[in-house]
């Protein structure tokens, strides 16, 4: 029920943006920039590029405000744009060269994440290795499977929403997720009980 109310609120805000209300755009941005950037980051695995692409996503939202009609849930529409931008970027072959080093940034990020819990050096190293493995495995998934898994896992979108975002059928989404999780299970299942 909460989700419906929120999505209705988003659509309302977007309708106000359509009427020229900049404040409503700022509210939508504040609410959705995090999920969009995180999605793009996990897709591309480069912080700077993810933020650039997220800027492109919100620019497109802003540019299409005049023609906006609340026919779909706002989040679905937003992630359709985000997926489009990410898949285009990957299709153009730019992303292989742009991935951040798994040894550099991720180690730093992990160190920051675990610092507050003050783990032992050994635990820290195990986590670091695990995270690098997760990132590498996700990166190896075909782009559309990756997008489907990220929306399913982190945005908690259902099949219908993912299908709308990726512009394919629900059965195609099921098949994408099935294959993606099969690969992930084969590569990551050994982590059970570790760390």
């Amino acid at each position: 029920m909460m989700a419906v109310a929120t999505s209705e609120h988003d659509a309302e805000l977007m309708l106000r943006v359509r009427e020229g209300d900049a404040q409503s755009f700022a509210l939508l941005l504040a609410k959705h920039r995090g999920p969009v950037i995180h999605f793009l980051y996990r897709m591309i695995q480069n912080r700077a590029v993810a933020e650039e692409l997220a800027q492109e996503v919100f620019l497109r939202v802003y540019r299409s405000r005049a023609g906006y009609e609340p026919t779909a849930k706002f989040t679905t529409w937003l992630f359709r744009i985000a997926s489009h931008v990410a898949l285009n970027y990957i299709r153009d072959g730019k992303h292989e060269r742009n991935q951040e080093s798994l040894d550099g940034e991720s180690a730093e990020g992990i160190a920051r994440q675990v610092a507050s819990r003050a783990p032992t050096v050994e635990q820290e190293m195990v986590r670091e290795v695990q995270l690098a493995e997760v990132r590498r495995t996700v990166e190896l998934l075909p782009a559309k499977q990756r997008a489907a898994v990220l929306m399913h896992k982190y945005q908690e979108m259902d099949y219908a929403q993912i299908a709308a975002a990726l512009e394919c059928s629900e059965s195609a989404v099921k098949s994408l997720l099935f294959r993606a999780y099969e690969t992930l299970r084969a590569k990551l299942a050994h982590m059970a009980g570790r760390g």
Partner: protein, 170 residues
């Protein structure tokens, strides 16, 4: 031949999707309850669920750092720059379209726009406040400062992409 249709095992029925929802916690309670028992005892489902949960847990460990503070400012500056670059009539048109939607018909808009254009042309010609080229202007709006800042950034980028010899040459 074994009949799998009536089986309680989602794997046997080829419905792994149910197990996926079970692991994700999105299966309704009435479906999840009986599955708990089945998964516990089923030699096919148990390892599948264990592995899928491990994947879920592994993905959960992948946290992303918060968004940089400059993100909004950079985006809003880009929007301001774009708006600035768009012709005035286009901005007016989109705004009106947003407010009035389909009610704004081109048959009304074209003559109205033409009349407005006529007015603008007339005012431009006769505008006594028009600034002469070369006149120094000391006022800069916040948006203009951002434009100048972006131009300086771009200039720096172009400079940094040239070898120092170019500097010597010129």
């Amino acid at each position: 031949m074994k009949n799998t249709k009536g089986s309680a095992c989602p794997m046997e029925r080829g419905e792994e999707e149910i197990l996926l929802r079970y692991c994700a916690g999105t299966l309704a309670a009435e479906g999840a309850g009986p599955l708990d028992e089945h998964v516990e005892s089923c030699p096919r489902c148990r390892p599948w669920v264990r592995e899928q949960r491990a994947v879920w847990q592994a993905l959960e460990s992948w946290k992303v750092e918060p968004v940089t503070a400059e993100f909004d400012a950079a985006l809003l500056a880009r929007i301001a720059r774009e708006e600035e670059a768009r012709p005035l009539w286009r901005r007016w048109w989109d705004r009106a379209k947003g407010a009035w939607g389909a009610a704004l018909d081109w048959r009304v808009a074209v003559p109205a726009g033409a009349m407005a254009l006529l007015l603008v042309v007339g005012l431009t010609m006769e505008n006594p406040f028009r600034q002469e080229a070369g006149e120094t202007m000391v006022k800069l709006e916040a948006r203009e400062i951002e434009q100048a800042e972006r131009a300086l950034e771009d200039l720096e980028m172009l400079r940094q992409l040239e070898p120092p010899e170019e500097e010597q040459k010129l």
